[in-house]
């Protein structure tokens, strides 16, 4: 039977006056998920194309897939498995986290949309996918659920839902879990799973590349390994290569801004060069910092979030540069936090509207001065 027909047959039940009309926004969410809505604009001249928010979000999810697949493989690799066994081991570990984050997040989103009587927004498709990718693999599921719930309620819904949030919800979930359960989320063993299945063994080493860099000034992996991603770390963040493939997809589809993305990397390398080669705080090459930890993941998928990043062109350069520079600055100058990307993205999320404000004011002043001449 034709899917379109099924949906059309169900529609009157959920429309106004129907038996289940209180679930209208839930129905609407599923309908627009399956079919591109053919709504036409009644007032003014607005151009609609087929690339609505659901399609936009699904492209971001697709861009995350390379990092996700590699994460599955690498998780198995870190417990001394190889080949397909390693991949399936990682897949079995990540799927419960992914399901938890989607079920909790979407349930809250649907409940809020329902109670406020507006459409379900689809922003969570991406946040829900990113949340498990930036958590340590050994995070208990209830912590994932709690972090997700906190991020969706206090990061998003209290501000008015998708498009209104000040902070990136995914990074907020990570930040909440990090500060709420610090003993469980830091330390040397957290990055490895303790599940003994499919013949998994305990990993030989304890510290991540970033922790080794900050405590020993060197890491046991080569720069190529770090670039390809054969290092321990959060699920999706290890492979810079896969993240860059995702970044290319985002740029080709025109979803993320290359200005933000590029300036985060420039800011990071500039600060690393300044602190390393000029101030002499470390002796390994400065570009190591772009390869290890969550730097590349944050730069490509989180700093470029169209809602929380700067809106003006100049603002994008400034906010991007500051995000990258601050991340490296926190990494090297604050011993309490080996990874600074999370904090610097949140901080610049808060400052982005201010940067935009000054950029717009500067433009107004420039044009006023020209008009007066």
């Amino acid at each position: 039977m034709d899917l379109r027909k099924i949906v059309d047959n169900l529609k009157p039940t959920f429309s106004k006056g129907g038996k289940l009309s209180f679930l209208a926004s839930t129905f609407d969410a599923f309908e627009t998920f399956l079919f591109v809505p053919n709504t036409t604009t009644a007032h003014g001249a607005h151009i609609r194309d087929c690339n609505d928010m659901k399609r936009t979000m699904i492209v971001v999810v697709l861009a995350l897939v390379p990092a996700f697949l590699f994460g599955c493989y690498n998780t198995g690799l870190q417990v001394n498995l190889t080949g397909w066994t390693a991949f399936f081991y990682g897949l079995v570990r990540i799927l419960p986290m992914l399901a938890t984050s989607y079920i909790v997040g979407l349930a809250i989103e649907f409940a809020f949309a329902q109670s406020r009587g507006h459409e379900v927004n689809e922003g969570f498709l991406v946040s829900g996918f990113i949340i498990p990718l930036i958590m340590p693999i050994s995070t208990p599921l209830w912590m994932v659920a709690l972090g997700t719930a906190f991020a969706v309620v206090f990061g998003k819904e209290v501000f008015g839902g998708t498009g209104m949030n000040v902070f990136n919800p995914a990074i907020l979930a990570r930040a909440f879990v990090f500060f709420a359960y610090t003993p469980q989320m830091s330390g040397e063993t957290v990055w490895f799973s303790t599940w003994k299945m499919m013949g998994a063994q305990d990993a030989v080493t304890g510290a991540t590349a970033l922790e080794q860099l900050s405590s020993n000034g060197a890491m046991q992996w080569s720069a190529l390994d770090a670039f390809l991603g054969f290092i321990p770390g959060s699920f999706g963040e290890t492979s810079t290569l896969c993240i860059l493939i995702g970044g290319a997809i985002l740029l080709i589809a025109g979803i993320a801004s290359w200005k933000t993305m590029l300036s985060v990397f420039v800011g990071g390398i500039a600060m690393a060069y300044f602190l390393g080669d000029v101030c002499g705080m470390f002796s390994y090459p400065a570009y190591y910092h772009l390869l290890v930890g969550g730097f590349a993941f944050g730069a490509v998928f989180m700093a470029t979030d169209p809602v929380t990043s700067a809106q003006t062109s100049t603002g994008k350069y400034i906010v991007g540069f500051m995000t990258g520079a601050l991340a490296i600055f926190i990494r090297l100058c604050n011993p309490a936090y080996p990874e600074g990307m999370m904090l610097s993205i949140l901080f610049m999320n808060a400052l982005a509207p201010l940067v935009d404000y000054f950029v717009v004011q500067a433009n107004i002043n420039r044009r006023l001065a020209r008009a007066k001449k």
Binding site: P140, W142, M143, Y181, Q184
Partner: protein, 209 residues
């Protein structure tokens, strides 16, 4: 007690609560609510100070010149706070240690000064006293609610007694962990926000347009 007097006592508990409706005294309500016990002591202290400050200022209201009234109010409030502080140090020394500067800072608590200015200077002593008790109780109520959640979720205990069994914790083979962020003031602010959220949704007349 007639119904008007009862209203002085009950109104500040919800409809004109000093913390969640007038948004006064937020600072101390974030600082002293890590555990339930200091929160209760702090709530009682503020209740005593607001009640007696209102009573004394209401008695003096006809004799104090308008221009120096703030100085007189401060002298009265400061005296009461020092009294409360000495009593706490004498009888509950450990709690007094925990509250540290925040007992002394009751002097600067906006609720005390606010009630004296807004109510005691224009009303009779008995009414002012009741109003002070009511506002102090409204403050104490919110403190207790915040501290209840913070101590329960942050340390797994209430009033120092363990509520969540030791065997549930990850370290002992369980799967539970205390929510460390509850011990930080920012989370207290979020709890205040949640209380306001809940309270406003139950009282639509208080919602800002």
């Amino acid at each position: 007690m007639n119904s008007k007097s009862v209203k002085f006592l009950t109104e500040p508990l919800s409809g004109s609560n000093p913390v969640i409706v007038q948004i006064l005294g937020i600072c101390s309500s974030l600082a002293v609510t890590v555990q339930l016990k200091p929160a209760i002591v702090m709530g009682l202290s503020v209740m005593v100070v607001t009640a007696f400050a209102n009573l004394v200022m209401s008695l003096l209201r006809k004799g104090v010149p308008q221009r120096i009234r703030i100085i007189v109010q401060l002298v009265v409030i400061a005296t009461l706070v020092i009294l409360v502080d000495q009593i706490l140090q004498a009888f509950v020394y450990d709690v007094s240690k925990q509250l540290s500067v925040y007992v002394g800072l009751i002097i600067t608590n906006c609720i005390v000064m606010g009630r004296v200015e807004a109510f005691a200077l224009g009303n009779r002593p008995w009414d002012s006293f009741l109003d002070g008790v009511g506002n102090g109780a409204g403050y104490a109520l919110i403190l207790v609610i915040i501290a209840f959640f913070r101590e329960l979720l942050g340390s797994g205990a209430l009033l120092g007694y363990r509520v969540i069994p030791e065997s549930w914790y990850i370290a002992n083979g369980g799967c539970y962990a205390n929510c460390g962020i509850m011990l930080f003031p920012p989370m207290a602010l979020i709890i205040v926000g949640c209380i306001i959220w809940f309270h406003r949704s139950k009282n639509p007349s208080l919602q800002e347009k």
